[in-house]
């Protein structure tokens, strides 16, 4: 009885109607998935033909260190993001305290800070020449680094904290959406059966929110796994370090692709395990928007605790980095101001906006196809389409170039043969290539959250609509779409902000003379000069804030409140 939402008598998903319409949905999702999976296939193809077998050397030398660092990083980031994400989501949704409305959206702000930027800022703040240690030396009269011990930020714990601070909003966002969708009556029932508030939280609320939290956590883990900027900066040698070493230093991209494949497999196993562990659960919340959430009225002490829970990650993850960036931007203004800002910002907005839109449409297509036709085949397609997220961006970029340039060159050859005319490169090296890469990379974000939200819509809704003669498309638009509005906005927001920050794939795939805000930050940051790029970095953060505020408001409005 751990899972009250579990239906005693599992209702299978809506019966697939083997109508033409349904088949067209399947076909569409099949084609889309294959297109989206092309880059992943390309990487697998590279992995099949390495220049040299790297494994004997790796096994004998650094692989154990890479694996243990990777493992520790993933565990650390998981614990940190789960604790912060769930606790803040819960108090913001269920408790009444001063500043609650502000924290509802402010909790999302750290998400707008790229991990490599926060890592730099804290290093500057906490290293020997930074203000914190200078103050300590002044106070205690220490002369040099040999006189005292100070924890090094450039370490594995440092990397966990940095990555955790900017990724916990994933958990927060999805957990909060899940809490909002839960029927308050469940909570009331549990309390009336004698469970305490805390035990209700762990035995009722969390299990119901688990699919959504699991989606959030898998995104966090994938992003942690493929991070290179932060771990490289902090000299934490994870699997990605080994991957880039194999690629750049040994010139063995096949070997690098093999390491990427190992990482993919790792993620697949994790995701599968999580799903397997809740295989017998099926949750359909009959969501009644007229049933408002009654927030707890708390004692002043508990209210203070709520405020602290929310304010700490917000200050550490957003206020401090933003303040430091502002400080640098002002003192290095003359070196960093260029008139190209507006153009670069527009490029970023265009690419991110378009990618957010396409991932949303494709995510909806895939998730709904699965609802119409829940077979192992479709489920496999869904997994396949989300693998791009588990790969380091630079590797994925090469995976994108291979099919695009391959297609371009094939077409060019045909055109030359048939018409004596060369079409040249049509897709490679264009904004299309970048948007394609973003879509492949971030589809997991939108497809995952849409799927988990759709799962909670009871099939009786579909049946009612379908029995009234509405085809699947109409049912989607008129029945599911309005119910999913909050989820769709959330997904679009996350993808948008992710795209704004995306760097490695953008760098490799972009057209000539094409800059985004992230690439502009990078040209200095890559040469150990982040202060000079504080201005564009700040603008990335600010540009992320506006959609965050807008969408957070719509998410709140998607549910009636008291």
């Amino acid at each position: 009885m751990n899972h009250p939402a579990q239906t005693a008598n599992p209702v299978s998903a809506p019966q697939p109607m083997r109508s033409g319409t349904s088949r067209r949905w399947i076909l569409a999702s099949l084609v889309t998935t294959l297109l989206v999976a092309l880059p992943v296939f390309s990487v697998l193809y590279l992995a099949a033909f390495p220049e040299d077998n790297i494994w004997p050397h790796l096994l004998n030398t650094t692989l154990p260190i890479y694996l243990s660092n990777t493992f520790k990083l993933m565990i650390g980031v998981s614990v940190m993001t789960l604790v912060i994400g769930i606790s803040t989501a819960w108090v913001v949704t269920m408790c009444e305290f001063p500043g609650r409305r502000f924290f509802e959206w402010a909790q999302l702000l750290p998400f707008a800070v790229p991990a490599y930027v926060i890592a730099y800022v804290y290093t500057d703040l906490l290293d020997y020449a930074g203000p914190v240690q200078i103050m300590l030396r002044d106070v205690f009269g220490w002369q040099s680094a040999a006189d005292y011990w100070f924890p090094s930020i450039r370490s594995l714990p440092g990397a966990v904290i940095m990555i955790g601070l900017v990724l916990y909003p994933y958990i927060y966002l999805l957990a909060r959406a899940a809490f909002l969708e839960q029927s308050p009556s469940l909570f009331a029932v549990s309390r009336s059966l004698g469970q305490s508030a805390i035990s209700t939280f762990f035995r009722v609320v969390l299990p119901i929110a688990r699919p959504a939290i699991a989606v959030g956590l898998s995104l966090v883990l994938m992003e942690t796994l493929n991070d290179f900027g932060t771990v490289d900066f902090f000299a934490v040698n994870t699997l990605t370090a080994g991957l880039f070493d194999t690629w750049m230093n040994l010139g063995n991209i096949g070997g690098a692709a093999q390491i990427a494949t190992v990482m993919l497999t790792f993620v697949l196993i994790l995701v599968t395990l999580e799903r397997y562990s809740r295989r017998r659960q099926q949750q359909f919340a009959a969501r009644d928007l007229r049933d408002p959430i009654h927030r707890f009225k708390l004692s002043p002490a508990l209210q203070t605790l709520c405020i602290l829970t929310c304010v700490l990650p917000f200050i550490l993850g957003f206020v401090i980095p933003a303040a430091m960036l502002t400080h640098y931007a002002i003192s290095y203004f003359s070196e960093s101001w260029t008139t190209e800002f507006v153009r670069n910002a527009l490029n970023s907005l265009f690419l991110s906006g378009t990618a957010a839109f396409t991932t949303l449409l494709i995510g909806l297509l895939l998730a709904y196809s699965r609802r119409l036709h829940d077979t192992p085949g479709i489920r496999f397609l869904m997994r396949l389409s989300s693998l791009g997220y588990a790969m380091p961006g630079a590797v994925l970029a090469v995976g994108v170039i291979i099919p695009l340039a391959g297609f371009d060159n094939w077409l060019d050859l045909k055109m030359e043969r048939w018409f004596g005319w060369n079409s040249g490169l049509l897709l490679s090296g264009t904004a299309f290539a970048i948007i394609f890469a973003y879509t492949v990379r971030f589809l997991a974000v939108s497809a995952g959250s849409i799927e988990s939200a759709l799962q909670k819509v009871t099939p009786s809704m579909d049946m009612a609509s379908r029995s009234l003669g509405h085809p699947p498309g109409k049912t989607l638009i008129h029945v599911h779409f309005p119910m999913l509005r909050g989820t769709l906005l959330t997904a679009a927001l996350v993808v948008f902000v992710d795209c704004m920050k995306e760097l490695p794939a953008t760098l490799i795939l972009r057209p000539f003379n094409f800059e985004t805000l992230a690439t502009q930050v990078y040209q200095y940051a890559s040469d150990e000069m982040l202060r000079q790029s504080a201005l564009p970095a700040l603008i990335i953060v600010l540009a992320g804030i506006i959609p965050i505020i807008l969408m957070s408001r719509s998410i709140s409005q998607s549910r009636a409140f008291h």
Partner: protein
Amino acid sequence: MKKRASILASLAVLGSLTTASTAALAEGEVNIYSYRQPYLVEPLLEAFTEETGIEANVVFAKNGLAERLQREGRNSPADIVLTVDIARLNELVEKDVTAPITTPILTQDIPENLRHPEGLWYGLTTRARLIFTSKDRVKEGEITTYEELADDKWNGRICTRSGKHPYNIALIGSMIAHHGEAETEKWLQGVKGNLARKPQGGDRDQIKAISEGVCDIAIGNSYYYGKMLDDKAEHAAAESVNLVFPNAEGRGTHINISGMALTKSAPNRDNAVKLMEFLTTEKAQHIYAEVNFEYPANPEVAPSKVVAGWGELNPDPLPLHDIAENREAAVKMVDRVNFDN
């Protein structure tokens, strides 16, 4: 259905929008894939455009451009690749994406040891891998060679960036060329034993670590020191160290290069050659020297006054190709002695 059609339609529209810009690449242009930061190459390209009227277009990335060039094949828009590190240039040759080019200007401007024998690449600048020592804690002349870095007296006193960084890999590669693998591995083990902390950060961070008292000597590229002197926040740290040109009295100091290569597919080949020649001539070489504190490859051009003030550079005459050849051995050696962990 409608949804899917609209996805496809919007993708198609996007595609046609974006390809328009590629198709517009016509005469009067030269296209560059650059592993060097735009702010470093922009002053040079601006001077080139001013002189010739040819527009220079750049894509900058730290990795993946060689793969992009390779996959784009004969249709690649890139004319020139700009990069640092001899191993990178060598890799372009191995990937068979560069074309041989020799012109009187190029061969006259660039000495033989700084270019590929068939003109598959040309060096543009050299940079020396120096040892920086604390002004307070290390006497002048206390260390004069790379070999001495393994000396016990430096136990717990050395800082460096990752052993896997191309600059360190090239240094280790040169040690292998001079001493053989076995002896170099013993040396590297010794250096590892002398490290004050786990390798981290960039070359500038090591100089800062000396000023902070974390370590007494550090390994770093020459131009970073110049850039630190130029930066208000880092000037003091740079002032706290002396420079040592290792092995200056013996075989010479290890140098690496930044360089360029013409691509096989170059659609604007004539303009590309013009740019290559421009980059080796005095005007451009002078910019390299003054803006980035590098040593010009063209012997007719003197290094900047600041750089010349650091002392005379006596470069190790070891053919750069030998260093590139030792790359794999060096990388695996760094793993074997567990240098980075």
